[in-house]
Structure formats: structure tokens, C-alpha cells
Amino acid sequence: MNGETQVLLGGAGGQGLVLSGVLLAQAALARGYHVAQSQQYGIASRGGFSGAGVVISREPVLYPLVTEPSAVVCLSAEALDRYCRGLAPHVPVVYDCGLGKTPATGRGRPLPILQEARTRGLPESANVMALGALARYLPAVDVDSLAMAVQARFGGQWRQANLLALRAGWELEDCHEYD
């Protein structure tokens, strides 16, 4: 729809991509946008596919589900299969470069997200790291508004871990050189 930013975030159940969607929606809402965050998941609590859709708009959102993605995040091979069909060539697809797969359509942005999260001792925060990388492509939010959403959502050690992951993701995308 006109003037809307539509984002898909997909991965394996338990990776936390729905939570990434909630954080994104929260950050955009705090900046005065209208938002709608939806979720898609299977009957398994871990494993299997899990994903979120986020629609961000200056106008009230009529249809709240993603129909024309303007950016995509994939942390599993299945997410690449599901979410990268028929994307326009300019649509960025931020995905983990260790999945052994590339997006069929869209503009691939392979990043070592899962490995980087492990190296930094933040394996549970790969979802937030991916969100930090994605933020480079979304004018509606920046790393500071996302950081506020992280602070509001998490306490204790998880707040710190996710703030680190968020900034690491933002910088990962900035420093990465694509072929």
C-alpha cells in the first residue's frame, strides 16, 4: 500500500523473530507511526518456522498483514524459501550467510549474524542483532529508537545483552562489504 513500510522477519521457532517484530513495531509506534505486527508460527514451540510481519505507516493501517514487503530478514533456510518469492529487485534481504542458501529474489545482504552472535557470547540475541542490521534499511526507525524499545522490554542481563547485539548488528551491516 502507498507510503507503507512492510517488513517480514522469519526464522526457526525459538530464535525470537516475532519478538524482533514486536520491538520494531514498538520503536516505530514511539516515533509516531501507525503500526501493525502480525505473527505466523506452527504448532511446535521450538523449531519449525516462525515469523513476524510489521506494517509501518503515517496513516492508519487498513490491512495489517504484509502483502508487498519492503525489507526482509531471514535467519533460517525455510524463511528464505517462504519469504523471498517474488520480491522486487531493490528489496533488501538481510540473511545469515551460513544458511547454505541465497534468496531467490530481492537484493541479498548476507551477514554472519549467527556466527557473530556466538563469537560475542550473545547467541540468544541473534534476533536483535538481525534487527540492528535491518534498521539500516528502514527510515522509520534508527538504532536509538530500537534501543529504547529494547530497554522497555528487557531487564537485567538481557537488557545489556540485547543492547550490545542491537548495536553490533547496526555496525555489522555498516562495515560489511558485499561482493
Binding site: M1, L29, H34, V35, A36, Y63, T67
Partner: protein, 371 residues
């Protein structure tokens, strides 16, 4: 400043603001967040949360709690809603106010537990034996989840009947900005003013709702699911049965204008009218955006149907289109109500929501009828 909230959470929040004091349920996807929030919040507010052994018992428990004076609630989804039908019938017969949330998922049976459906429309109206009329509301946004839950408690008390809130899985699991009002209008139960000796729990002039005393109060009264007269005791003569059944029917259908909320978006005299509810109503609104000939009529109340208003809005239409996530339920009601033009259904029962483009295409493909 709106707060980000999920549909199910908005239902729980709406219920808490409306003064819910008793919840009994058996958690089931995609309604479990309602139970989770109630379990966390109700006991701290002096309310009671009971996790039941199944949905039959859940429904029975909220009837008992309501008769003891509580504002009572349960939440479930398709398979659980089926199990609640028998006691839902009892709540109709005994005129017990209560609110049931049925988050619609894809069926039949346990079907697709995490995917949306709109296949419970007719079950909500006709799922019980006997005529057993009820009120059913259908929210289409997170704000609507909150607002309609508050309204459900008001309607339940006002009409002394069960009210079913029927979000689909998409709306129940959607997060959007919610404006929380400072305070909400709470339902008031009409209490008897006569002496306990004179109290008749089912006596009221025609078209009016009899006051309801509380169990445990000086007003001692009898409640049965069998046919009964004004005193509440069983009677099986035809005149008692006729009066009771007509009362149950007329107390809702004669007051349809007070109950049924119909929302119309579009030009004054639409050539194409899309009739939809829940998430599908939002797809329809997106589909006709900018179309000067097409409008959307959203059924925020599913039952009772505001037939006069539906016929009125459809009066100018050359085509009525009814998209729904089932193989044809509300479309049959529209065919009964709208006789002057074709009424087409657009149906999908694969666990996927109907997208705006599918509705726009159906309008285009209808060709001569639509244009």
C-alpha cells in the same frame, strides 16, 4: 500516546477494566494469552482464576459464578467452543449473563491450531439445540478487541444472556496501537427491589429483562435448564414453553437496533457492496480504497443481524460480495436479506487470510454486474 498491545491482551485488558471478577477456562491456541493474563492479574485484584479440566466445566463454572454475582469470562477456540455449546444453551435458558471469547482458528475439528478461520459464524448462532438465541460480536482491530470486550460485558448484563466475542486468529494475535480510556462504562446488573418473598427470577413485562438476584443473598431462587415459569421452577405446559421461548427470542431480536453495530465505509449509494467481518473487513476496506463505486459494510455484530440496516445499505447495489474465511456462511444470510441483486461469496478455507487483492479481483471479475 497509544501503547502496543496484542488483540488477546486487549481483550483481557478490556475485561479487567469492565470489572471481570471470575475466569474459568482451559487454555487453547490461539486464545491462550487471555488465560495467561487472567491467571497473572485476576487473583491480585481480588478476582478468581480457575483452570478447569475441560471446556464443559469451564462454561458451567462461569454460569455458576455469574449467578453468584460475578462478572464472568472464559476464552477458547473452535474445539473448545464446540464443547461449550451444551452449557451455553443452559446460560441462554437460565438467562445468565456471561462473556465467552472464541478465537476462531481453521477447522474442522482440531484443524490448523495456529491458523485463522471464520468457520464458527453459524455455530455461534445455531450450535445449540433449540432456538437458543445469543449475541455475538466480531472485532477487527486491537482497539476493537478492547472496546467490544467492554461492550460484551454491558450487553450480557443488560440483556441477561451470554455474549460471544469472535475474533479470528489474525486479529487476536495482531499487535497494534491501543488508546486506553481513563475509565470505561461498566455493566450494571439489574437487582430485584421487591422483598425476597415476592421475588420471581424470570418475571418481567413483555420485552423487558427480569432483575437477577445473587446466590448467597436473601433472595433464594431456583434455576433449571428445563422449561420453567417466572418462579424458575419446571413447568411443561405449552403456554409456559411458548412464552419462555418467545421471550428469549424477542428480548434480543426486538432490540436489535440497540445491540447490532454495523459500520459502513464508502460512497452514499454503492454499486458494489462488500459485506465482511473481522480481518476480512480490513482486507475489504483496503481493496475498495479509492473506488468511488464500492463500499464496505462491516458486521461488528454478527448476531443478531441488523437486517433492516443491511437491506438499506445494499439497496443501491448491483452486486453484493461476501468474502469470508469459510466455504459460505454469512453469504447465505445476505442472500436471504438482499433479493434485488446477485450476492456472490468469496471463500477461502486453507488457513490463510483473504488478501485485499483477491477481493479487488473478485470485484473486477464480476464484470457487468459490478460495473
Amino acid at each position: 500516546m497509544p501503547i502496543l498491545m496484542q488483540g488477546n491482551a486487549a481483550i483481557a485488558e478490556g475485561a479487567l477494566r469492565a470489572g471481570v471478577s471470575f475466569y474459568a477456562g482451559y487454555p487453547i491456541t490461539p486464545s491462550s494469552e487471555v488465560a495467561e493474563i487472567m491467571a497473572r492479574r485476576l487473583p491480585g485484584q481480588g478476582g478468581i482464576y480457575l483452570q478447569m479440566e475441560d471446556e464443559l466445566a469451564s462454561m458451567a463454572a462461569i454460569i455458576g459464578a455469574s449467578l453468584a454475582g460475578a462478572r464472568s469470562l472464559t476464552a477458547t477456540s473452535g474445539p473448545g467452543f464446540s464443547l461449550m455449546q451444551e452449557n451455553l444453551g443452559m446460560a441462554v435458558m437460565a438467562e445468565v449473563p456471561c462473556v465467552i471469547v472464541n478465537v476462531q482458528r481453521s477447522g474442522p475439528s482440531t484443524g490448523l491450531a495456529t491458523r485463522p478461520g471464520q468457520g464458527d459464524i453459524m455455530q455461534a448462532r445455531w450450535g445449540r439445540h433449540g432456538d437458543a438465541p445469543i449475541i455475538a460480536l466480531c472485532p477487527s482491530s486491537v482497539q476493537d478487541c478492547f472496546d467490544q470486550t467492554v461492550r460484551a460485558f454491558i450487553l450480557a448484563e443488560k440483556f441477561r444472556c451470554p455474549v460471544v466475542l469472535m475474533p479470528d486468529q489474525v486479529v487476536a494475535h495482531l499487535s497494534e496501537g491501543l488508546e486506553l480510556p481513563g475509565e470505561v462504562t461498566r455493566s450494571e446488573r439489574s437487582r430485584p427491589t421487591c422483598s425476597p418473598a415476592e421475588y420471581q427470577p424470570f418475571a418481567a413485562p413483555p420485552g423487558e429483562i427480569p432483575p437477577l438476584a445473587e446466590y448467597g443473598s436473601p433472595y433464594v431462587f431456583h434455576v433449571t435448564s428445563s422449561m420453567h415459569d417466572e418462579t424458575g421452577f419446571s413447568r411443561s405446559d405449552p403456554e409456559t414453553a411458548r412464552k419462555k421461548n418467545l421471550h428469549l427470542h424477542r428480548k434480543l431480536h426486538d432490540r436489535v437496533e440497540d445491540i447490532a453495530e454495523v459500520r459502513y465505509y464508502g460512497p452514499d449509494r454503492p454499486g458494489v457492496l462488500v459485506v465482511a467481518y473481522g480481518i476480512t473487513a480490513r482486507a475489504a476496506r483496503a481493496a475498495v480504497q479509492g473506488d468511488e463505486d464500492a463500499g464496505v459494510l462491516e458486521l461488528a455484530t454478527l448476531w443478531p443481524l441488523h437486517e433492516r440496516r443491511l437491506a438499506e445499505v445494499a439497496g443501491s447495489a448491483r452486486l453484493v460480495l461476501v468474502p469470508e474465511m469459510n466455504l459460505g456462511q454469512m453469504v447465505h444470510e445476505m442472500r436471504r436479506i438482499v433479493r434485488h441483486c446477485p450476492v456472490h461469496g468469496l471463500h477461502r478455507a486453507d488457513g490463510e487470510p483473504i488478501e485485499p487483492e483477491e477481493i479487488a479481483r473478485a470485484i473486477r471479475d464480476s464484470g457487468g454486474e459490478a460495473r
